[in-house]
Amino acid sequence: MTLQLQAPSLGASISSFVSPLRRSTHRFVIRAKAEPTDKSVEIMRKFSEQYARKSGTYFCVDKGVTSVVIKGLADHKDSLGAPLCPCRHYDDKPAEAGQGFWNCPCVPMRERKECHCMLFLTPENDFAGKEQTISLEEIKESTANM
């Protein structure tokens, strides 16, 4: 009975604790790797296969690298609306995505076939594999522990 009577006032005092808690949870969510949507992963997977064929480049011999990058692109597509390269730091991501230089395929890739993210590798690259295809299952499997 006493508890019930105290409940409303408790409720009022609890609310002052809620915001800092929320804030830290929010930060946690941002820092933890948010999974990109399946739809965006599939779009970027298909794009990657097509662009590898078109540019005469190959996926990394370690398809885990390919998978991680495809997911990173999908993540940026979800959050920024554009597949900004996930292998760089940007002071202002939305501005960078709007500008487009580092949207995949980035300018260095289009002009010189330089993909520092190692999604598209020219055949002579130390890390180039022989494949230009990757399945959704491969992407899921190789990023399962992330």
Partner: protein, 146 residues
Amino acid sequence: MDTVVSNSALLSIPQLPPVRSVTSSSYSSTPFSQSLEINETQFRDSVLNSDRPVLVEFVANWCGPCRLISPAMEWVAQEYKDRLAVVKIDHDANPRLIEEYKVYGLPALILFKNGQEVPESRREGAITKAKLKEYVDALLESLSVA
């Protein structure tokens, strides 16, 4: 976790870092990890005030080449543990460090000694284990001569 990290500064770091370093899970899957992930609040103690040179690796969550060099970095941490400390820093979670050291391409390696960035030690992108060894040997050699 094998605690062969012999640097006293590193050992003094709390075992459970604050919320910000939750992204570490994607990089510390190796069971006997020698390479420690730190955040900007730990930077002064574990890097700037370290009594040994510290090789700092800046990484991103969805960065393929960061993942690719991870085993080689673990190898360096183990192989050079009596001469060198190796730490990893997530770029998204530590913007102040990124701003201070102007890191853009990832992964980025920078060697620190006596609280200073070692000139010409900065390196971006994936690297084979053999080339990483050459890089570390050359840097350690130059430090011992200097």
